[in-house]
Symmetry: C2
Subunit: 114 residues, 2 copies
DNA sequence: TTTTTCGCTTACCTTTTGGTAACTGCTATA
DNA sequence: TATAGCAGTTACCAAAAGGTAAGCGAAAAA
């Protein structure tokens, strides 16, 4: 008989994988933070996130919209105005952002201080 | 004068960015979950994570070790045995993993059910 | 009239990430 | 003796993510 084995943990990994599929990457959470902070127009968001380019921003906004985390609204003024807002569903990500933010703060202290 | 402006939020983004730099990517959290679940040897970890390859696992383990999230210990038995364990510091990531897991579970429900 | 702003898109390129398969020296098991 | 397991490494390649720079038509500001 083979000795080869391991502890099963796919059920613990599955939900984490699901979450990562949607919010991982360099930009998505930063974009949500920017919009939550009051930026709603394309150029505003772009200017608020250091180093992001319009190409990447456009693509990430599409992804976020597809996952119902933001909404894109067109106002037919002259000229037309486009605004991005976060959805109520995106607000359920708050604990994730908070946990990452807390850990990041602590990590920076650990790396720099002491 | 230019009207171009935006709401500043770099201070909110910085810690999240720091955290993402270290734990983002497809595999790192899954590896931590696997080791936390009781897997400690290379092949065990490999078998416990669907689709991971030994090449990728070896690289990710190195990254995690560099960031002091896991420890690699060599036991000089014959044959030599190598074990990976999570550090106390890695345990500070628990709230992050929990938040992601909770959100992932809920998201799956949202997508599938209703 | 010229410049700037808006919300993007396009073409091209580099970097990062991941996948395949074979292979290593050693030991243990059948 | 042949095979399988251990902990990886190596060479090669494909895909995904990201960066660079330019440009579009319309309108507003200088």
């Amino acid at each position: 008989m083979s000795k080869a084995s391991h502890t099963e943990c796919t059920s613990e990994m599955l939900p984490v994988r699901d979450a990562l599929d949607i919010i991982s990457g360099k930009w998505k959470l930063l974009i949500l933070i920017s919009i939550s902070s009051g930026n709603s127009r394309f150029r505003e968001i772009e200017r608020s996130i250091p180093k992001i380019t319009s190409k990447v921003l456009a693509k990430e906004l599409k992804d976020l919209e597809e996952n119902e985390l933001i909404e894109r609204t067109v106002y037919d003024d002259i000229p037309v105005v486009i605004k991005y807002t976060i959805t109520p569903y995106a607000k359920t990500l708050q604990p994730v952002i908070q946990a990452l933010s807390d850990w990041g703060k602590n990590h920076r202290k650990k790396i720099l201080g002491r």
